[in-house]
Amino acid sequence: MVTSFNKYFKVWLRFAINGFQTQLNNRFALTIFLIGKILRFAIFTLFIVILVSKTKALAGYSLDQTIFFFLSFNLIDIISQLLFREVYRFRQAVVLGTFDFYLVKPINSLYRSLMGGPDLIDFITLIPLFGAIVFYMSRLQMISLPSTVLYLGLIGVGFTIALSFHILVLALAVLTTEVDHAIMMYRDIVGMGRFPIDIYREPLRGFLTFIIPVGLMMSFPAKAFLGLLSPALIIYSIVFALFLLFFSLKIWNYSLKQYSSASS
Protein backbone atom coordinates (compact mmCIF):
# COMPACT_ATOMS: atom_id res chain seq x y z
CA MET A 1 0.00 0.00 0.00
CA VAL A 2 2.78 2.44 1.04
CA THR A 3 4.94 1.30 -1.88
CA SER A 4 2.04 1.82 -4.24
CA PHE A 5 1.41 5.30 -2.80
CA ASN A 6 5.09 6.18 -3.18
CA LYS A 7 5.07 4.96 -6.76
CA TYR A 8 2.00 7.03 -7.66
CA PHE A 9 3.34 10.08 -5.88
CA LYS A 10 6.61 9.84 -7.81
CA VAL A 11 4.66 9.48 -11.06
CA TRP A 12 2.56 12.52 -10.15
CA LEU A 13 5.70 14.52 -9.43
CA ARG A 14 7.01 13.60 -12.86
CA PHE A 15 3.67 14.65 -14.44
CA ALA A 16 3.85 17.92 -12.51
CA ILE A 17 7.45 18.68 -13.52
CA ASN A 18 6.71 17.87 -17.17
CA GLY A 19 3.51 19.92 -17.11
CA PHE A 20 5.16 22.90 -15.45
CA GLN A 21 8.06 22.81 -17.92
CA THR A 22 5.63 22.75 -20.84
CA GLN A 23 3.75 25.73 -19.43
CA LEU A 24 6.97 27.63 -18.76
CA ASN A 25 7.87 27.19 -22.42
CA ASN A 26 5.03 29.54 -23.31
CA ARG A 27 5.59 32.28 -20.77
CA PHE A 28 3.36 34.76 -22.61
CA ALA A 29 0.27 32.53 -22.28
CA LEU A 30 1.24 31.58 -18.71
CA THR A 31 1.48 35.23 -17.67
CA ILE A 32 -1.75 36.24 -19.37
CA PHE A 33 -3.75 33.34 -17.86
CA LEU A 34 -2.22 34.02 -14.44
CA ILE A 35 -3.14 37.72 -14.65
CA GLY A 36 -6.64 36.73 -15.84
CA LYS A 37 -7.23 34.38 -12.93
CA ILE A 38 -5.93 36.88 -10.38
CA LEU A 39 -8.04 39.61 -11.95
CA ARG A 40 -11.19 37.47 -11.86
CA PHE A 41 -10.56 36.73 -8.20
CA ALA A 42 -9.92 40.43 -7.49
CA ILE A 43 -13.07 41.55 -9.34
CA PHE A 44 -15.30 39.12 -7.39
CA THR A 45 -13.66 40.14 -4.11
CA LEU A 46 -14.09 43.83 -4.93
CA PHE A 47 -17.73 43.21 -5.81
CA ILE A 48 -18.36 41.37 -2.53
CA VAL A 49 -16.61 44.09 -0.51
CA ILE A 50 -18.50 46.95 -2.19
CA LEU A 51 -21.86 45.18 -2.09
CA VAL A 52 -21.78 43.77 1.43
CA SER A 53 -20.17 46.92 2.89
CA LYS A 54 -23.18 48.82 1.60
CA THR A 55 -25.88 46.31 2.52
CA LYS A 56 -24.19 45.23 5.81
CA ALA A 57 -25.08 41.57 5.15
CA LEU A 58 -25.80 39.13 2.33
CA ALA A 59 -28.40 36.46 3.11
CA GLY A 60 -27.62 37.10 6.79
CA TYR A 61 -23.84 36.77 6.42
CA SER A 62 -21.42 39.57 7.31
CA LEU A 63 -18.74 40.81 4.92
CA ASP A 64 -16.01 38.65 6.51
CA GLN A 65 -18.26 35.59 6.42
CA THR A 66 -19.22 36.16 2.76
CA ILE A 67 -15.55 36.49 1.83
CA PHE A 68 -14.80 33.32 3.78
CA PHE A 69 -17.44 31.44 1.72
CA PHE A 70 -15.86 32.80 -1.45
CA LEU A 71 -12.37 31.76 -0.35
CA SER A 72 -13.58 28.26 0.57
CA PHE A 73 -15.17 27.93 -2.87
CA ASN A 74 -11.88 28.95 -4.47
CA LEU A 75 -9.92 26.47 -2.36
CA ILE A 76 -11.92 23.46 -3.62
CA ASP A 77 -12.16 24.82 -7.14
CA ILE A 78 -8.46 25.59 -7.48
CA ILE A 79 -7.28 22.31 -5.93
CA SER A 80 -9.58 20.42 -8.33
CA GLN A 81 -8.24 22.36 -11.30
CA LEU A 82 -4.66 21.95 -10.16
CA LEU A 83 -4.97 18.19 -9.84
CA PHE A 84 -7.54 17.33 -12.51
CA ARG A 85 -6.54 19.67 -15.34
CA GLU A 86 -5.83 16.63 -17.53
CA VAL A 87 -9.59 15.99 -17.75
CA TYR A 88 -9.86 19.10 -19.95
CA ARG A 89 -7.51 17.42 -22.45
CA PHE A 90 -8.99 13.95 -22.23
CA ARG A 91 -11.19 14.23 -25.31
CA GLN A 92 -8.09 14.41 -27.51
CA ALA A 93 -6.74 11.24 -25.89
CA VAL A 94 -9.96 9.36 -26.73
CA VAL A 95 -10.41 10.78 -30.22
CA LEU A 96 -6.77 10.27 -31.26
CA GLY A 97 -6.51 6.89 -29.62
CA THR A 98 -3.73 7.78 -27.17
CA PHE A 99 -6.03 6.56 -24.41
CA ASP A 100 -5.10 3.05 -25.60
CA PHE A 101 -1.58 3.72 -24.30
CA TYR A 102 -2.95 4.72 -20.90
CA LEU A 103 -4.64 1.33 -20.68
CA VAL A 104 -1.57 -0.75 -21.35
CA LYS A 105 0.81 1.05 -19.01
CA PRO A 106 1.45 -0.16 -15.45
CA ILE A 107 -0.30 2.90 -14.04
CA ASN A 108 -4.00 3.04 -13.30
CA SER A 109 -5.66 4.52 -16.40
CA LEU A 110 -8.10 6.57 -14.32
CA TYR A 111 -5.21 8.05 -12.35
CA ARG A 112 -3.40 8.91 -15.58
CA SER A 113 -6.51 10.47 -17.12
CA LEU A 114 -7.31 12.52 -14.03
CA MET A 115 -3.94 13.63 -12.75
CA GLY A 116 -1.64 13.50 -15.77
CA GLY A 117 -1.32 17.26 -16.23
CA PRO A 118 -1.20 19.43 -13.10
CA ASP A 119 -1.60 23.15 -13.74
CA LEU A 120 1.20 25.49 -12.67
CA ILE A 121 -1.06 28.57 -12.70
CA ASP A 122 -3.40 27.03 -10.12
CA PHE A 123 -0.42 26.01 -8.01
CA ILE A 124 0.81 29.62 -7.95
CA THR A 125 -2.62 30.99 -6.99
CA LEU A 126 -3.12 28.38 -4.28
CA ILE A 127 -0.35 29.70 -2.04
CA PRO A 128 -1.78 33.20 -1.34
CA LEU A 129 -5.25 31.62 -1.09
CA PHE A 130 -4.11 29.48 1.87
CA GLY A 131 -2.82 32.64 3.52
CA ALA A 132 -6.11 34.46 2.96
CA ILE A 133 -8.14 31.57 4.39
CA VAL A 134 -6.03 31.43 7.55
CA PHE A 135 -6.29 35.23 7.85
CA TYR A 136 -10.10 35.17 7.58
CA MET A 137 -10.36 32.21 9.94
CA SER A 138 -8.61 34.27 12.60
CA ARG A 139 -10.66 37.40 11.76
CA LEU A 140 -13.90 35.49 12.24
CA GLN A 141 -12.72 34.60 15.75
CA MET A 142 -14.21 31.13 15.45
CA ILE A 143 -10.92 29.32 15.18
CA SER A 144 -10.67 26.24 17.37
CA LEU A 145 -9.40 22.70 16.88
CA PRO A 146 -12.89 21.13 16.35
CA SER A 147 -14.07 23.88 13.96
CA THR A 148 -10.82 23.69 11.95
CA VAL A 149 -10.93 19.87 11.79
CA LEU A 150 -14.57 20.01 10.72
CA TYR A 151 -13.79 22.64 8.10
CA LEU A 152 -10.90 20.64 6.65
CA GLY A 153 -12.98 17.44 6.76
CA LEU A 154 -15.79 19.08 4.79
CA ILE A 155 -13.29 20.59 2.35
CA GLY A 156 -12.26 16.95 1.87
CA VAL A 157 -15.92 16.04 1.27
CA GLY A 158 -16.23 18.86 -1.28
CA PHE A 159 -13.06 17.69 -2.95
CA THR A 160 -14.37 14.09 -3.06
CA ILE A 161 -17.53 15.32 -4.82
CA ALA A 162 -15.38 17.32 -7.26
CA LEU A 163 -13.29 14.18 -7.88
CA SER A 164 -16.45 12.14 -8.53
CA PHE A 165 -17.75 14.68 -11.03
CA HIS A 166 -14.43 14.67 -12.86
CA ILE A 167 -14.54 10.86 -13.04
CA LEU A 168 -18.08 11.06 -14.43
CA VAL A 169 -16.90 13.53 -17.08
CA LEU A 170 -14.09 11.14 -18.05
CA ALA A 171 -16.54 8.26 -18.29
CA LEU A 172 -18.82 10.40 -20.46
CA ALA A 173 -15.84 11.15 -22.69
CA VAL A 174 -15.06 7.46 -23.13
CA LEU A 175 -18.70 6.74 -23.97
CA THR A 176 -19.47 9.74 -26.19
CA THR A 177 -16.15 11.65 -26.78
CA GLU A 178 -17.91 14.72 -25.31
CA VAL A 179 -15.86 16.52 -22.66
CA ASP A 180 -15.61 20.22 -23.35
CA HIS A 181 -19.18 21.21 -22.61
CA ALA A 182 -19.64 18.68 -19.83
CA ILE A 183 -16.64 20.01 -17.91
CA MET A 184 -17.61 23.63 -18.55
CA MET A 185 -21.17 22.89 -17.41
CA TYR A 186 -19.68 21.42 -14.25
CA ARG A 187 -17.61 24.61 -13.79
CA ASP A 188 -20.63 26.85 -14.26
CA ILE A 189 -22.84 24.83 -11.94
CA VAL A 190 -20.13 24.72 -9.29
CA GLY A 191 -19.56 28.45 -9.87
CA MET A 192 -23.00 29.03 -8.38
CA GLY A 193 -21.35 28.17 -5.06
CA ARG A 194 -19.14 31.29 -5.08
CA PHE A 195 -21.65 32.83 -2.70
CA PRO A 196 -23.44 31.19 0.24
CA ILE A 197 -26.07 28.84 -1.11
CA ASP A 198 -28.63 30.68 1.04
CA ILE A 199 -28.84 33.46 -1.57
CA TYR A 200 -30.90 31.18 -3.81
CA ARG A 201 -34.67 30.97 -3.57
CA GLU A 202 -36.41 27.66 -2.98
CA PRO A 203 -36.79 25.25 -4.76
CA LEU A 204 -33.49 26.16 -6.46
CA ARG A 205 -31.66 26.21 -3.12
CA GLY A 206 -32.81 22.67 -2.26
CA PHE A 207 -31.93 21.55 -5.76
CA LEU A 208 -28.42 22.99 -5.45
CA THR A 209 -27.94 21.41 -2.04
CA PHE A 210 -29.37 17.95 -2.42
CA ILE A 211 -29.64 17.13 -6.14
CA ILE A 212 -26.66 18.93 -7.67
CA PRO A 213 -24.64 19.20 -4.48
CA VAL A 214 -23.08 22.62 -5.04
CA GLY A 215 -24.10 23.80 -1.58
CA LEU A 216 -22.79 20.64 -0.04
CA MET A 217 -19.46 21.03 -1.84
CA MET A 218 -18.91 24.74 -1.52
CA SER A 219 -21.03 26.18 1.29
CA PHE A 220 -21.02 23.39 3.89
CA PRO A 221 -17.31 23.70 4.88
CA ALA A 222 -17.65 27.41 5.67
CA LYS A 223 -21.02 26.86 7.37
CA ALA A 224 -19.54 24.11 9.54
CA PHE A 225 -16.63 26.35 10.49
CA LEU A 226 -19.09 29.07 11.50
CA GLY A 227 -21.03 26.53 13.58
CA LEU A 228 -24.11 26.77 11.36
CA LEU A 229 -24.33 23.16 10.19
CA SER A 230 -26.24 20.46 12.03
CA PRO A 231 -24.56 17.06 12.72
CA ALA A 232 -27.23 15.39 10.55
CA LEU A 233 -26.21 17.50 7.53
CA ILE A 234 -22.52 16.81 8.18
CA ILE A 235 -23.19 13.05 8.17
CA TYR A 236 -25.43 13.42 5.12
CA SER A 237 -22.68 15.22 3.19
CA ILE A 238 -20.10 12.52 4.02
CA VAL A 239 -22.47 9.71 3.00
CA PHE A 240 -23.45 11.57 -0.18
CA ALA A 241 -19.80 12.13 -1.18
CA LEU A 242 -18.89 8.49 -0.62
CA PHE A 243 -21.93 7.27 -2.53
CA LEU A 244 -21.17 9.63 -5.43
CA LEU A 245 -17.55 8.46 -5.54
CA PHE A 246 -18.66 4.82 -5.57
CA PHE A 247 -21.22 5.56 -8.29
CA SER A 248 -18.69 7.46 -10.44
CA LEU A 249 -16.18 4.58 -10.19
CA LYS A 250 -18.87 2.13 -11.27
CA ILE A 251 -19.71 4.32 -14.27
CA TRP A 252 -16.00 4.63 -15.11
CA ASN A 253 -15.61 0.85 -15.07
CA TYR A 254 -18.72 0.51 -17.22
CA SER A 255 -17.34 3.04 -19.72
CA LEU A 256 -14.07 1.10 -19.97
CA LYS A 257 -16.00 -2.04 -20.85
CA GLN A 258 -17.73 -0.12 -23.64
CA TYR A 259 -14.49 1.43 -24.95
CA SER A 260 -13.61 0.19 -28.41
CA SER A 261 -10.56 2.39 -29.15
CA ALA A 262 -10.37 5.09 -31.80
CA SER A 263 -8.63 2.79 -34.23
CA SER A 264 -11.17 0.00 -34.14
Binding site: I32, F44, M185
Partner: protein
Amino acid sequence: MISKYWAVFKISWEQGLVYRLNFTLWRVRSVLQLLLVYFIWWTVFQSQTQVFGYTQSSILTYIMVAALIRAVILSSRAIDIAGHINEGSVVNFLVKPLGFVRYYFSRDLADKLLNISFVLVEIILLITILKPPIIYQQDPLILLLFVMSASLGLLLYFAIAFIIGMLAFWVESAWGPLFLVTIILEGFGGGLFPIDILPRILTDTLLLTPFPYLIYFPSRIYLGTLPPAEIIKGFIILSFWILVSLLLILKILDAGLKRYTAYGN
Protein backbone atom coordinates in the same frame (compact mmCIF):
# COMPACT_ATOMS: atom_id res chain seq x y z
CA MET B 1 -21.13 41.45 -53.87
CA ILE B 2 -23.66 41.19 -51.03
CA SER B 3 -24.76 37.71 -52.14
CA LYS B 4 -21.30 36.27 -51.30
CA TYR B 5 -21.57 37.39 -47.70
CA TRP B 6 -25.23 36.45 -47.55
CA ALA B 7 -24.12 32.93 -48.50
CA VAL B 8 -21.47 32.98 -45.72
CA PHE B 9 -24.17 34.18 -43.31
CA LYS B 10 -26.54 31.36 -44.31
CA ILE B 11 -23.82 28.69 -44.09
CA SER B 12 -22.78 29.90 -40.62
CA TRP B 13 -26.40 29.88 -39.48
CA GLU B 14 -26.81 26.31 -40.73
CA GLN B 15 -23.53 25.27 -39.10
CA GLY B 16 -24.83 26.62 -35.81
CA LEU B 17 -27.93 24.49 -36.18
CA VAL B 18 -25.90 21.37 -37.06
CA TYR B 19 -24.06 21.37 -33.72
CA ARG B 20 -27.27 21.61 -31.73
CA LEU B 21 -25.96 19.94 -28.55
CA ASN B 22 -22.96 22.27 -28.42
CA PHE B 23 -25.17 25.26 -28.92
CA THR B 24 -27.78 24.16 -26.36
CA LEU B 25 -25.12 23.50 -23.72
CA TRP B 26 -23.58 26.91 -24.39
CA ARG B 27 -26.99 28.49 -23.81
CA VAL B 28 -27.58 26.44 -20.62
CA ARG B 29 -24.23 27.69 -19.33
CA SER B 30 -25.28 31.27 -20.01
CA VAL B 31 -28.51 30.73 -18.05
CA LEU B 32 -26.53 29.35 -15.08
CA GLN B 33 -24.28 32.41 -15.10
CA LEU B 34 -27.35 34.63 -15.25
CA LEU B 35 -28.97 32.84 -12.29
CA LEU B 36 -25.95 33.49 -10.04
CA VAL B 37 -25.98 37.24 -10.75
CA TYR B 38 -29.77 37.41 -10.58
CA PHE B 39 -29.97 35.77 -7.15
CA ILE B 40 -27.17 37.85 -5.63
CA TRP B 41 -29.17 40.96 -6.41
CA TRP B 42 -32.50 39.37 -5.54
CA THR B 43 -31.13 38.50 -2.08
CA VAL B 44 -29.80 42.02 -1.56
CA PHE B 45 -33.27 43.45 -2.10
CA GLN B 46 -34.91 41.12 0.40
CA SER B 47 -33.71 43.47 3.13
CA GLN B 48 -33.34 46.78 1.26
CA THR B 49 -35.47 48.92 -0.99
CA GLN B 50 -32.70 50.88 -2.63
CA VAL B 51 -28.99 50.12 -3.04
CA PHE B 52 -26.46 52.24 -4.95
CA GLY B 53 -29.38 54.25 -6.33
CA TYR B 54 -31.01 51.16 -7.86
CA THR B 55 -34.40 49.77 -6.89
CA GLN B 56 -35.14 46.05 -7.06
CA SER B 57 -36.95 46.43 -10.37
CA SER B 58 -34.23 48.58 -11.94
CA ILE B 59 -31.39 46.25 -10.95
CA LEU B 60 -33.21 43.06 -11.97
CA THR B 61 -34.14 44.69 -15.28
CA TYR B 62 -30.49 45.67 -15.67
CA ILE B 63 -29.44 42.03 -15.07
CA MET B 64 -31.91 40.70 -17.64
CA VAL B 65 -31.04 43.30 -20.27
CA ALA B 66 -27.31 42.77 -19.60
CA ALA B 67 -27.84 39.03 -20.15
CA LEU B 68 -29.54 39.74 -23.47
CA ILE B 69 -26.78 42.12 -24.55
CA ARG B 70 -24.07 39.70 -23.42
CA ALA B 71 -25.58 36.90 -25.46
CA VAL B 72 -25.61 39.12 -28.52
CA ILE B 73 -22.18 40.65 -28.09
CA LEU B 74 -20.14 37.74 -26.72
CA SER B 75 -21.40 35.30 -29.35
CA SER B 76 -18.62 36.27 -31.68
CA ARG B 77 -16.81 34.10 -34.21
CA ALA B 78 -14.09 36.69 -34.83
CA ILE B 79 -11.65 34.83 -32.59
CA ASP B 80 -11.77 31.88 -35.05
CA ILE B 81 -9.26 33.82 -37.07
CA ALA B 82 -6.58 32.86 -34.50
CA GLY B 83 -7.16 29.16 -35.22
CA HIS B 84 -7.12 29.80 -38.96
CA ILE B 85 -3.79 31.63 -38.68
CA ASN B 86 -2.27 28.91 -36.50
CA GLU B 87 -3.51 26.09 -38.76
CA GLY B 88 -2.42 27.93 -41.89
CA SER B 89 -5.91 27.88 -43.43
CA VAL B 90 -5.87 31.67 -43.41
CA VAL B 91 -3.98 31.36 -46.67
CA ASN B 92 -7.29 30.46 -48.36
CA PHE B 93 -8.48 34.02 -47.90
CA LEU B 94 -5.48 35.38 -49.68
CA VAL B 95 -6.32 33.61 -52.91
CA LYS B 96 -10.10 33.89 -52.85
CA PRO B 97 -12.16 36.91 -53.92
CA LEU B 98 -13.50 37.29 -50.38
CA GLY B 99 -13.05 40.20 -47.99
CA PHE B 100 -11.22 39.02 -44.92
CA VAL B 101 -13.00 41.19 -42.36
CA ARG B 102 -16.38 41.00 -44.08
CA TYR B 103 -16.26 37.20 -44.13
CA TYR B 104 -15.79 37.01 -40.37
CA PHE B 105 -18.36 39.72 -39.75
CA SER B 106 -20.97 37.79 -41.76
CA ARG B 107 -20.26 34.71 -39.65
CA ASP B 108 -20.46 36.84 -36.54
CA LEU B 109 -23.89 38.15 -37.47
CA ALA B 110 -25.26 34.67 -38.13
CA ASP B 111 -24.04 33.50 -34.74
CA LYS B 112 -25.53 36.52 -33.05
CA LEU B 113 -28.91 36.04 -34.72
CA LEU B 114 -28.97 32.43 -33.53
CA ASN B 115 -28.10 33.52 -29.99
CA ILE B 116 -30.67 36.34 -29.98
CA SER B 117 -33.46 33.94 -30.90
CA PHE B 118 -32.49 31.60 -28.06
CA VAL B 119 -31.77 34.20 -25.41
CA LEU B 120 -35.16 35.84 -25.96
CA VAL B 121 -36.88 32.53 -25.25
CA GLU B 122 -34.68 31.97 -22.17
CA ILE B 123 -35.40 35.42 -20.76
CA ILE B 124 -39.14 35.07 -21.35
CA LEU B 125 -39.00 31.69 -19.56
CA LEU B 126 -37.00 33.10 -16.65
CA ILE B 127 -39.35 36.08 -16.32
CA THR B 128 -42.32 33.70 -16.32
CA ILE B 129 -40.76 31.43 -13.68
CA LEU B 130 -39.02 33.97 -11.42
CA LYS B 131 -41.56 36.78 -11.90
CA PRO B 132 -39.10 39.63 -11.29
CA PRO B 133 -40.52 43.18 -11.26
CA ILE B 134 -39.18 44.06 -14.71
CA ILE B 135 -39.32 47.53 -16.24
CA TYR B 136 -40.81 47.36 -19.73
CA GLN B 137 -39.37 50.37 -21.50
CA GLN B 138 -41.97 52.02 -23.72
CA ASP B 139 -40.28 55.27 -24.72
CA PRO B 140 -39.52 54.86 -28.46
CA LEU B 141 -36.56 57.27 -28.30
CA ILE B 142 -34.94 55.32 -25.46
CA LEU B 143 -35.58 52.05 -27.26
CA LEU B 144 -34.01 53.48 -30.40
CA LEU B 145 -30.94 54.66 -28.46
CA PHE B 146 -30.75 51.25 -26.78
CA VAL B 147 -30.74 49.43 -30.13
CA MET B 148 -28.19 51.89 -31.52
CA SER B 149 -25.84 51.50 -28.55
CA ALA B 150 -26.15 47.70 -28.59
CA SER B 151 -25.46 47.61 -32.34
CA LEU B 152 -22.39 49.82 -31.95
CA GLY B 153 -21.28 47.69 -28.98
CA LEU B 154 -21.61 44.62 -31.18
CA LEU B 155 -19.37 46.23 -33.77
CA LEU B 156 -16.84 47.24 -31.10
CA TYR B 157 -16.63 43.74 -29.62
CA PHE B 158 -16.23 42.24 -33.07
CA ALA B 159 -13.32 44.62 -33.68
CA ILE B 160 -11.73 43.84 -30.29
CA ALA B 161 -12.08 40.06 -30.77
CA PHE B 162 -10.76 40.34 -34.32
CA ILE B 163 -7.71 42.30 -33.17
CA ILE B 164 -7.04 39.71 -30.44
CA GLY B 165 -7.48 36.90 -32.98
CA MET B 166 -4.91 38.52 -35.25
CA LEU B 167 -2.34 38.40 -32.45
CA ALA B 168 -1.89 34.80 -33.64
CA PHE B 169 0.27 36.29 -36.40
CA TRP B 170 2.82 36.96 -33.64
CA VAL B 171 2.06 34.68 -30.69
CA GLU B 172 1.32 30.96 -30.49
CA SER B 173 -2.12 31.29 -28.90
CA ALA B 174 -4.55 34.18 -28.78
CA TRP B 175 -6.84 32.48 -26.26
CA GLY B 176 -5.00 34.01 -23.31
CA PRO B 177 -5.66 37.64 -24.32
CA LEU B 178 -9.29 36.76 -25.14
CA PHE B 179 -9.68 35.14 -21.72
CA LEU B 180 -8.32 38.32 -20.14
CA VAL B 181 -10.64 40.58 -22.13
CA THR B 182 -13.66 38.39 -21.27
CA ILE B 183 -12.84 38.70 -17.56
CA ILE B 184 -12.41 42.47 -17.82
CA LEU B 185 -15.67 42.65 -19.77
CA GLU B 186 -17.59 40.63 -17.16
CA GLY B 187 -16.20 42.66 -14.28
CA PHE B 188 -15.65 46.14 -15.64
CA GLY B 189 -17.96 46.00 -18.63
CA GLY B 190 -21.08 45.63 -16.51
CA GLY B 191 -21.74 41.89 -16.86
CA LEU B 192 -21.59 41.10 -13.15
CA PHE B 193 -22.73 44.46 -11.78
CA PRO B 194 -23.44 47.96 -13.08
CA ILE B 195 -20.08 49.73 -12.89
CA ASP B 196 -21.54 52.85 -11.28
CA ILE B 197 -21.65 50.98 -7.96
CA LEU B 198 -17.84 51.25 -7.92
CA PRO B 199 -16.06 54.26 -6.38
CA ARG B 200 -16.65 57.34 -8.54
CA ILE B 201 -13.04 57.74 -9.67
CA LEU B 202 -12.91 54.10 -10.81
CA THR B 203 -16.23 54.40 -12.68
CA ASP B 204 -15.09 57.61 -14.41
CA THR B 205 -11.80 55.98 -15.41
CA LEU B 206 -13.53 52.85 -16.72
CA LEU B 207 -15.94 54.99 -18.75
CA LEU B 208 -12.96 56.19 -20.77
CA THR B 209 -12.13 52.60 -21.79
CA PRO B 210 -14.12 50.63 -24.40
CA PHE B 211 -15.39 47.94 -21.99
CA PRO B 212 -18.41 49.63 -20.33
CA TYR B 213 -19.85 50.43 -23.77
CA LEU B 214 -20.36 46.76 -24.52
CA ILE B 215 -22.80 45.80 -21.73
CA TYR B 216 -23.17 48.58 -19.14
CA PHE B 217 -23.94 51.49 -21.46
CA PRO B 218 -26.77 49.89 -23.51
CA SER B 219 -28.29 48.35 -20.36
CA ARG B 220 -28.28 51.70 -18.56
CA ILE B 221 -29.83 53.41 -21.58
CA TYR B 222 -32.65 50.84 -21.51
CA LEU B 223 -33.43 51.73 -17.88
CA GLY B 224 -34.09 55.30 -19.02
CA THR B 225 -32.27 56.86 -16.07
CA LEU B 226 -29.12 58.01 -17.83
CA PRO B 227 -29.03 61.84 -18.25
CA PRO B 228 -28.98 63.04 -21.92
CA ALA B 229 -25.50 64.56 -21.48
CA GLU B 230 -24.09 61.21 -20.37
CA ILE B 231 -25.79 59.43 -23.28
CA ILE B 232 -24.26 61.87 -25.77
CA LYS B 233 -20.83 61.59 -24.08
CA GLY B 234 -21.17 57.79 -24.12
CA PHE B 235 -21.95 57.70 -27.84
CA ILE B 236 -18.98 59.97 -28.58
CA ILE B 237 -16.56 57.72 -26.62
CA LEU B 238 -18.10 54.58 -28.12
CA SER B 239 -17.72 55.96 -31.66
CA PHE B 240 -14.14 56.96 -30.89
CA TRP B 241 -13.25 53.41 -29.80
CA ILE B 242 -14.96 51.89 -32.83
CA LEU B 243 -12.99 54.17 -35.10
CA VAL B 244 -9.73 53.39 -33.31
CA SER B 245 -10.34 49.65 -33.35
CA LEU B 246 -11.33 49.60 -37.03
CA LEU B 247 -8.16 51.50 -37.90
CA LEU B 248 -6.19 49.06 -35.75
CA ILE B 249 -7.73 46.11 -37.62
CA LEU B 250 -6.47 47.48 -40.93
CA LYS B 251 -3.00 48.25 -39.55
CA ILE B 252 -2.59 44.93 -37.75
CA LEU B 253 -3.98 42.90 -40.64
CA ASP B 254 -1.55 44.61 -43.00
CA ALA B 255 1.40 44.05 -40.65
CA GLY B 256 0.34 40.49 -39.88
CA LEU B 257 -0.03 39.46 -43.52
CA LYS B 258 3.39 40.93 -44.31
CA ARG B 259 4.87 38.85 -41.52
CA TYR B 260 2.92 35.69 -42.33
CA THR B 261 4.73 32.87 -44.07
CA ALA B 262 2.98 29.79 -45.40
CA TYR B 263 4.65 26.54 -46.29
CA GLY B 264 3.58 23.04 -47.20
CA ASN B 265 1.80 21.66 -50.21
